[in-house]
């Protein structure tokens, strides 16, 4: 089997922030704890989790805005923190970002033309005709008329603004696109069009996407792989089908159930949804306080990630038992289960 080259590889990355008080005491806060994933060329990894789970820190690490405390971040095989300046410049040109809010991510005083040509000029392009050609081609790609180039962002609706933001990211033909909740501030009718646009672009240009969202439906639509984050760690990772249909972590189950329409009265009361504190991390499983299937062992022993299928990893003591409870399928097991639910 030949080794696949990944567009982005996050390899056992941890990030610790140090906090020094007035008296000189230092305290360390571990925001990201041993996170690993890889995105092959032309594929999408969906990253799900609620606010405070560390999704944004992972994006900042992937964009080389933060240096990992441990582990390495590799872009097409090159460690982006252990390479020369030329490589770093190349990396910056090939990795682009689309932000959540198209109202605040576009400069209100710049015309669309200026917004789109800025990355080209920064990248050292000075041929006016070539810039013009690129602008028009990119506008067509995102489905906007080229006479919109002379307008200001305020003249556009939310969906159109997000197209402009996407055009700005695509204009340098990036090899990796980081999408931070690109559709969550848009109306449902517009949301679909942006997602279709992203999917079509990926199919024709073989760009890798790191797609961050808390909306399971759009994650399922765009992603090949899904990683579920909770409290700074990946609790479940696998192919989109595995995670969406054959999920084994109680937190994934909770996320999926929260996003599927059902009557509220069908549900039992859930434990309070507060994340544990990073200053005082729990000894056992971080999800203990909210888990519906918790047992004593969870309160003192943190679970290790275990492979339960082809590339499908889950960090839960009861990953196999959860499958039995759900009755979806039977899984091979050597010997009796250690714990019974």
């Amino acid at each position: 089997m030949n080794k696949e080259i990944h567009a982005l590889e996050i390899d056992h990355v941890s990030k610790t922030y140090r906090n020094r008080t007035l008296l000189g005491k230092t305290s360390a806060v571990k925001i990201i704890d041993d996170v690993s994933f890889a995105i092959p060329q032309g594929k999408t990894l969906g990253l799900v989790g609620e606010s405070g789970s560390g999704k944004s820190t992972v994006t900042r690490l992937a964009l080389r805005q933060e240096k990992p405390t441990d582990g390495s971040v590799r872009f097409f095989g090159t460690d982006i923190w252990r390479c020369d300046k030329e490589r770093v410049r190349d990396f910056r040109r090939s990795v682009r970002m689309v932000f959540q809010d198209p109202y605040s991510s576009l400069d209100p005083r710049m015309k669309v033309r200026a917004i789109l040509s800025e990355p080209l000029i920064v990248a050292g392009m000075d041929d006016k005709d070539e810039i013009e050609r690129r602008l028009r081609r990119t506008m067509t790609k995102v489905g906007l008329a080229s006479d919109y180039l002379e307008r200001f962002p305020r003249e556009f609706s939310g969906g159109q603004r997000q197209r402009i933001a996407i055009a700005r990211s695509l204009i340098l033909s990036p090899r990796l696109l980081v999408l931070d909740e690109p559709v969550s501030s848009l109306d449902v009718s517009v949301r679909g069009r942006i997602l279709n646009l992203l999917k079509d672009y990926q199919r024709t240009n073989n760009t890798a996407y790191l797609f961050i969202s808390h909306d399971m439906a759009s994650i399922g639509f765009l992603s090949d792989c899904i990683a579920v984050m909770y409290f700074g760690s990946i609790v479940e990772i696998g192919s989109a089908d595995d995670v969406l249909q054959n999920f084994r972590h109680p937190y994934t189950e909770m996320l999926i159930h929260s996003s599927v329409a059902a009557s509220l009265s069908d549900r039992d009361a859930e434990p309070p949804a507060e994340l544990p504190s990073h200053l005082n991390p729990p000894a056992g499983c971080a999800f203990y306080g909210r888990c519906a299937y918790r047992k004593d062992v969870c309160s003192h022993t943190p679970p290790r990630p275990a492979e339960i299928g082809d590339g499908h990893f889950v960090s839960c003591h009861f990953a196999e038992a959860l499958a039995a409870v759900r009755g979806k399928e039977t899984i091979r097991r050597d010997g009796e289960p250690e714990y019974a639910l």
């Binding site: 449902v188 999926i256 949804a273």
Partner: protein, 324 residues
């Protein structure tokens, strides 16, 4: 069931330097006692302006009502004077705003803001008000120590619960929740919706739930109205609307909301854009995006037709019915 709120043919505009924006073009609906009524629509469809008109806040934003009536418990809301209005807002009708971060004063603790609300509407001593504040907080499942905190010390879900506590503090007859879950995480959203439902059962208040999120609306509401370009185009019970949508816009909205959560091929979308509010509406405002539009749709505004409590404004639907 008794009618609590009744809005009839409400139209209004805002004058801007660019011209007159026709925000509402004949909104009619009624909310019964003790029900959860959902209003769903895209941004710019006039959901929030409808809510603000009912609260009489809209006028302060330069919104002028051209025609229509708002009747709450048999009283004409548009005719209220200042004193009546003070009792009406917060006392009989309360609002849960979209963004809990900006709707609480950052300089005061949650407790003092609850006490302030209570003492504005009821004759209470500080001590009594405090006791009530803690009782309400318990109902909203807020831990007592959280009330001593300032807004910046609390999470989004907790802040939204505090805003909710302030809304129910004076036992209002109706709570208007304007996109209360948009700023929250999915897992917290669900809990908040459940909490709203429980509170409704206990207090017997009606909820007007405004949202663009089909999931949230279908989880909590008994009846749902769909708004498009300043009009309510369809209004029915939850099951009637979701299982048997009749207006082409509602159908497209439900398809693109993708309630089952399963898409692999292509996302359903609605082509075209909503009409420009600067133009005075003629005919059905959805006509140019509608796959079933007829010449009549562009010329005449479709009237409301009702069948089995399922109201719809659409020429094509009327035609279908006359056939059967």
């Amino acid at each position: 069931m008794n009618r609590l709120l009744w809005v009839e043919d409400l139209s209004g505009h805002i004058d801007t330097p660019k011209g007159r924006l026709h925000i509402l073009n004949g909104v009619s609906f009624c909310v019964h006692e003790n029900e959860c009524f959902g209003i769903i629509g895209e941004s710019g469809s006039g959901k929030t302006m409808t809510a603000l008109s009912v609260l009489r806040y809209a006028e302060r934003l330069g919104f002028q009502i051209d025609a229509g009536a708002i009747v709450f418990e048999g009283e004409d809301v548009l005719g209220f004077n200042k004193r009546r209005l003070l009792h009406y807002n917060g006392g009989r009708v309360a609002v849960i705003p979209q963004d809990p971060m900006t709707s609480l004063d950052p300089l005061f603790t949650a407790e003092s803001q609850l006490v302030e609300t209570l003492r504005t509407h009821k004759k209470l001593t500080v001590k009594q008000a405090k006791a009530q504040a803690y009782a309400i907080a318990e109902k909203m499942r807020i831990a007592p120590e959280k009330l001593k905190c300032y807004p910046f010390q609390l999470s989004g879900g907790m802040l939204q619960r505090i805003v909710g506590a302030a809304a129910i503090a004076c036992h209002p007859k109706m709570i208007i929740a304007d996109e209360p879950t948009t700023a929250l995480d999915v897992t917290v959203q669900l809990q908040y919706l459940k909490l709203l439902r429980d509170i409704q059962d206990e207090y017997g208040a009606a909820i007007v739930f405004i949202s663009h999120d089909m999931h949230a609306v279908s989880m909590i509401c008994d009846r749902i109205a769909v708004m498009y370009a300043g009009r309510i185009v369809e209004c029915a019970s939850k099951n009637g609307l979701l299982r048997n949508p009749r207006h082409p816009y509602t159908r497209a909205l439900i398809r693109s909301a993708n309630l089952s959560g399963e898409v692999r091929g292509k996302y359903d979308t609605i082509d075209g854009v909503p009409p420009d509010p600067l133009a005075k509406p003629v005919g059905c405002s959805f006509a140019d995006r509608c796959p079933h539009s007829m010449p009549r749709c562009f010329a005449e505004t479709p009237p409301k037709t009702t069948r089995d409590d399922h109201e719809v404004c659409c020429w094509a639907c009327q035609k279908d019915e006359s056939k059967t």
